[in-house]
Assembly symmetry: C2
Homo-oligomer: 153 residues x 2
DNA sequence: TATATGTCTATATTTCATGTAGACTAATCC
DNA sequence: GGATTAGTCTACATGAAATATAGACATATA
């Protein structure tokens, strides 16, 4: 399960990417539009900024902006901002170079060997889907639904 | 991150599968051999039994046994015993037929669409690796290490 | 200087994972 | 059939983490 942070972060970024004609967004506006607790969103956007995904400006006329184009932002990078590396077991984490506390022999640990394949599979998906792709998938579903409704009429 | 339950469960099953010449195992013996808190292991083995992965007999001469051969037990089935279905978001869970509480429009949710691909990728790995495969991978690594040591001498 | 806006620190609350204690049930053996 | 062995069940303790909230602070603009 991914955290609410990740979901809220993705929703906020989706909102910013999909809203054309604006490039700067207030925390309060994003929070209201996406139904995210404002104070919680503050911390989330800050995390995204610290990970190079958003940029910000203080003061009147300020707000948050996407640091890169939606097609240049992978879902992997976004989710990793909140979940750390996506290691299914500690010993596969690259950021915290640590072994699993209970492991008796890490070199030959079968769990590690299998989970390594899982980690690769997850990364293969998330690092090859961008924020733009995600919005496009969503839009495609919306079109499908619209057409079904037209057909029904 | 998978839970300690899953890791302990996999370790216990690995121990049982790899120990030849015995088919019934005492909780206490498994706990000691694999360094797992005994009381905790009790609950874990019970879960595995309730999921059809282990069988048990009470009384003297009793203990736990694998319900199927290691080649017939997938890592997916084992891990799912502890983690539930491996849905990265609630709305993709099949067991608890629930939508994500914060979702505004589940039909077109981009997060759901992307995470569906993640779930498929994870299942593709875990449902195609068996307990026997896991042990074999481990043994292969052990052989590699032995050969490196021979070479060093 | 006043105001708008993001940033930081601290804390409250809840939930969950991990682990422990002890009573209970069932099977075997003598 | 009583003693012993071994799994099963219920309850709880503890600690960590996720989800928020409050309020003070810093900085940019007009």
């Amino acid at each position: 399960m991914i955290s609410m942070r990740s979901k809220y972060g993705l929703k906020a970024l989706g909102y910013m990417a999909r809203t054309t004609g604006k490039d700067s967004f207030l925390i309060a506006d994003i929070a209201q539009a996406e139904g995210i607790p404002k104070k919680f969103l503050e911390a989330i956007l800050l995390t995204l900024k610290n990970n190079g995904i958003l940029s910000s400006r203080k003061g009147p006329g300020g707000g948050y902006s996407l640091a890169k184009s939606p097609a240049a932002l992978t879902i992997g990078a976004i989710v990793r901002s909140f979940e750390g590396d996506l290691a299914p077991v500690q010993c596969l984490s690259e950021t915290q170079q640590a072994s699993c506390p209970e492991c008796l022999d890490e070199d030959t640990c079968g769990i590690k060997l299998v989970m390594s394949d899982v980690a690769s599979a997850v990364s293969a998906v998330l690092d090859n889907v961008t924020l733009a792709d995600m919005l496009q998938k969503s839009e495609f579903e919306r079109q499908k639904r619209t057409q079904m409704m037209d057909f029904a009429i």
